[in-house]
């Protein structure tokens, strides 16, 4: 299991568009990926769940990756949060 913290660099937070991109990204891996905000954790496969977390811009969230390809998955997810998100 790999856990990483990321700051949301998009000013509007996690809206539908970045959520969709992230979900699609995670589909490529076998690992189970979850998002944790405060004391709420949801699986990162449901847009409704991600939106319901109401992650705002500038907040820090945790990403938990668990599975046989967790290293690659965590890396790709890391890139999403550090590079891609701010352009979405």
């Amino acid at each position: 299991m790999i856990t990483n913290d990321y700051t949301i660099l998009a000013p509007q937070g996690m809206h539908a568009r970045p959520a969709t991109v992230l979900i699609k990204l995670v589909k490529n891996y076998k690992s189970v990926v979850s998002l944790k905000r405060g004391d709420k954790t949801v699986r990162l496969n449901s847009m409704l769940n991600i939106l319901a977390l109401t992650i705002k811009g500038g907040e820090t969230i945790s990403v938990i990756v668990d599975g046989e390809d967790e290293t690659e998955a965590a890396q790709a997810i890391g890139l999403f949060f550090t590079e891609q998100l701010k352009d979405l």
């Binding site: 699986r43 847009m47 409704l48």
Partner: protein
């Protein structure tokens, strides 16, 4: 039936009523595993068909989809296939033994309430999306019951409680002549789509809309927000005429918008707008304006307790520049006087405020006020194509003094290391008769003239337009006034400067050819008046206009001149 007109135009057609699918819980509980399995399948099939429906819309090459439409559809697919949604529905079917319809209704309702309760406006708007996909799945669970909006008869008027984003994307919009909804406002989805597509629409009609039946004849007036259901012959005839008139003027507007104002003998005329705030630029461009011939600055000084500071003024001019898309904007410096009461600026009560302490006279007397404004304009000048114009000039010394203060402002800013457009153009309004008569002298010292015919007319004819007893003497076609205007243009051109006109006369179609014949380069008016003037310019030549002008100048009364000009407009 009265509602809110949110998209202008007139539609006459047959009603097509979109019935809101009755979504109520049926309360039926499942009794065995076989039923549970069946309901799970029913749900999953309904979702599949809903997704197929959207994929079909996306790949339909017959209609072009905007990027926003595609994004909405993609979000819908994402929501339709959302694992949490599916898990929750399946859970209700399996554990709570609810049938698929009830399970769906409850799960959707839970999510909708969750999102509607959020602080974030964006999230609250997503509630509508969730309702939308809920309805779509529901339709497929139910076996669909709604007549298809995908194939409509021409001149269909859509009647509905409200219209959802996916409905507008799905429907056969080519055949839709109008929208009428029970609920809604100027900013609701129906209104936005209707305006974007140029379809007349009336929203917020209330419950009465339920009385409209399929195929009823409906007249929809999107301008006044009125609906007529199965009206008598006279009303139909009346509205048919109104509809044609509306369509013609809308078509003319559309056609002219991007057309340059070039005469048949290829002289390019600039048509600009008179505005008072940056917000008006939308209209300027909508009507095909190519610049701002007059930016009034009075708004800056009204409704306040203190003089606007340099920075406050800078924000105003900067905003104007940023919205201008780089078109020329002529800013008129302070034009206030004794007739306008400003709480923070004690001006003497005068017997003749229009002949008194105002505009440039105040500016040259209260240099600190003037230089503040000039500094703000200069600082804003780097954001657009701004020009400075002094009002109420009566002699050469005023021009020189004012220009000196501009130079002083420039020097100060340079010393402070603040950038500005060093080549900013400086011109004057010609509205006082002495200036019009000595235009030859003034033309040597400025970059342009702008003729303020409203005041020029009043001063020249010694008439107060507001005085009912003499208002009829206010006459821009008075031969004396016309000669003054003509002189200003002629003298301006002799010195190689351009001459514009920003008074009401610029918008008067009757004056267009006359002014064109005098050689006017720029007409500045209310944005909405631009198309009518452009229409005249593009259909005539300068040589024709010169003829007209020469002939008019032979006449000795404005009645004769006006009658003559009227003939040429036919």
């Amino acid at each position: 039936m009265k509602g809110i007109g949110v998209s202008p135009g007139i539609a006459i057609g047959k009603a097509f009523v979109i019935k809101k699918t009755e979504i109520t819980l049926n309360g039926v509980l499942l009794t065995n595993d076989e039923e549970i399995s069946r309901e799970k399948n029913r749900f999953e099939n309904a979702v599949d068909r809903a997704v197929e429906e959207i994929e079909a819309i996306k790949s339909n090459k017959n209609r072009s989809l905007q990027d926003e439409d595609l994004a909405i559809l993609d979000t819908q697919i994402e929501l339709l296939t959302d694992p949490q949604l599916k898990d929750d529905v399946i859970e209700k079917i399996t554990s709570d033994r609810k049938n698929s319809t009830d399970a769906l209704i409850e799960v959707i309702e839970t999510f909708v309430q969750l999102f509607e309760g959020m602080d974030d406006e964006y999230m609250r708007a997503r509630a509508a999306d969730i309702k939308d996909i809920g309805n779509r799945i529901f339709k497929h669970l139910d076996g669909g019951g709604n007549p298809s909006i995908r194939n409509l008869q021409p001149n269909t008027i859509i009647i509905a409680e409200d219209i959802s984003p996916s409905e507008t994307i799905t429907m056969d919009i080519v055949n839709v002549a109008g929208f009428a909804t029970q609920v809604g406002s100027k900013t609701s989805h129906t209104a936005i789509i209707a305006r974007a597509k140029g379809i007349p629409a009336v929203v917020g009609c209330g419950d009465g809309i339920g009385t409209i039946k399929n195929d009823d004849l409906v007249i929809l007036d999107g301008i006044n927000g009125v609906l007529y259901i199965n009206p008598p012959e006279e009303v139909i005839a009346d509205y048919t005429a109104k509809k044609n008139a509306w369509q013609q003027s809308a078509a003319r507007l559309k056609a002219l918008k991007n057309q340059p104002a070039i005469t048949t003998d290829r002289k390019k005329i600039t048509l600009s707008a008179n505005i008072g705030a940056a917000e008006e630029f939308a209209d300027v461009f909508e009507y095909g304006g190519e610049g701002v011939g007059l930016l009034r600055t009075e708004l800056l000084f009204m409704n306040r307790d203190t003089f606007p500071t340099e920075n406050e003024q800078l924000e105003f001019y900067k905003n104007v520049a940023l919205q201008s898309k780089g078109v020329p904007v002529i800013i008129r410096t302070i034009d206030i006087g004794g007739d306008k009461h400003l709480p923070y600026f004690k001006l003497p009560t005068e017997l003749n405020p229009f002949l008194g302490y105002r505009a440039i006279r105040i500016c040259l007397d209260r240099k600190e006020l003037f230089i503040t404004q000039l500094r703000a304009i200069l600082r804003a000048s780097i954001f657009g194509n701004l020009k400075i114009m002094f009002p109420m000039i009566s002699n050469l010394q005023e021009v020189r003094s004012a220009k000196q203060i501009v130079d002083e402002a420039k020097t100060d800013l340079s010393k402070e290391g603040i950038v500005f457009n060093a080549d900013i153009q400086v011109g004057i309004m010609i509205e006082i008769p002495s200036a019009a008569i000595m235009a030859d002298i003034l033309a040597k010292e400025v970059d342009f003239f702008s003729i303020g015919t409203n005041d020029l007319c009043q001063y020249t004819l010694a008439v107060d337009r507001m005085n009912e007893k003499v208002a009829r003497l206010y006459d821009p076609f008075n031969p004396g006034v016309l000669r003054l205007i003509s002189n200003v243009i002629e003298q301006g051109h002799k010195q190689g400067i351009y001459v514009g006109l920003c008074g009401e006369m610029a918008s008067d179609p009757m004056a267009t050819l006359l002014l064109l014949g005098m050689g006017l380069d720029n007409f500045s008016m209310s944005a909405s008046a631009i198309p009518a003037v452009k229409d005249i310019i593009i259909n005539h030549s300068v040589s024709e206009a010169k003829e007209i002008y020469k002939n008019a100048m032979q006449m000795d009364s404005s009645e004769e001149i006006i009658a003559y000009l009227k003939q040429h407009l036919k």
